[in-house]
Symmetry: C2
Subunit: 230 residues, 2 copies
Amino acid sequence: MAITLYDLCGRDERLRFSPYCWRVRMTLAHKGLEVTTVAWRFQEKEALAFADYDKVPVLTDGDNVVTDSFDIMRYLDRAYPDAPVVGEGMSLQRLMLFKQSVERSITPALFKIVALDLLAAIHPEDRDYFRKTREARFGATLEAVNDPEQGRHLLKQALVPVNAQLKESPFLDGDTPSGADYLLFGSMMWAYTVSTETLVDEKDPVAAWFKRMLEVHDSVAGKAVTVRDL
Amino acid sequence: MAITLYDLCGRDERLRFSPYCWRVRMTLAHKGLEVTTVAWRFQEKEALAFADYDKVPVLTDGDNVVTDSFDIMRYLDRAYPDAPVVGEGMSLQRLMLFKQSVERSITPALFKIVALDLLAAIHPEDRDYFRKTREARFGATLEAVNDPEQGRHLLKQALVPVNAQLKESPFLDGDTPSGADYLLFGSMMWAYTVSTETLVDEKDPVAAWFKRMLEVHDSVAGKAVTVRDL
């Protein structure tokens, strides 16, 4: 069946930076599934009306329509059970715990590093929308949130367990990457795509891991267009 | 086969507070295994010579001698495979990642809350040894490390993913507790056993979880002697 992914794009249609879409892209690559991506911008709500949803990722697989990045990962595990990325039982529970860490500690720290670069990477017609919605969420201006030095400090703290674990195994999920790696990578790829700011110390294990992640699955992420290419 | 656990004790032989021993106690209870504990004090190295090890927990199970809390948990999963606590593959990897968080972020924050209470809970003859070894490890006096208010702030930060996850499921590992719960509980039980300091906000999900954990497995932890009883 043909798989389509509605994928957030920026000021250049090739610039794809959503952390949630990257989780799904990596999961599809992990399972060797072909995908056609549809570039989507923040305000194109009507394009997603068929899914009864208002943001990406939205995935269609034949007649199936699935929304929410983690639900899509779980759907792909059910529909294509070889090489599971999420798992079941304790494996799933422990991934959900790490997902909380990615979304509540790691991603907010990354946001502080790249907030203004992210704004600049967004399509000019979407910037007012982005600023308004995010500033309402944070209760602060993007300029006040943007603080790369403090962001790097918070990120380093949040990545203490990750750096320790990456001394024990090349990927978070073991000898090869899987769901835990894709959750973290999605957020780091988001920041890397829109910004040339330093995210982590070169000597931290997570820096070498990120380079490995750019190369896995035929460099699906490494080949992606970033602000460096524009 | 008879199982014996060498278990750290304090100024009262009934005061058992090692976070690493508590992980093992909970794992044994999880599997419905009877255990005889042997009270052990920090400097009784010769009592562990048979294990070629110098700290607890040490577990003997018939002729088997196993050291290191996590290795003991893995041993118990292999020897008594019903109701696994650690799991295998991605499940194991993700538990190892959470273990890093418990040992590198959560436990150090707890230590700042209870450092001086912990010293007072230790047997008088062991206090010099404890102070010397810990102060060398931290490069600071126990009095300088002890800062309950800062500790609670760091703990709250480190528990952000845990509190979020405990809104989704009653235990970290799902509907019933397992390895992830025992790792976190071991450290919180350690602090709770030696100190009456407030550890977490009563309204945080982790507070209700801790009470549930005191009650599981026939209240093996809830019945334990703490400084409140002495």
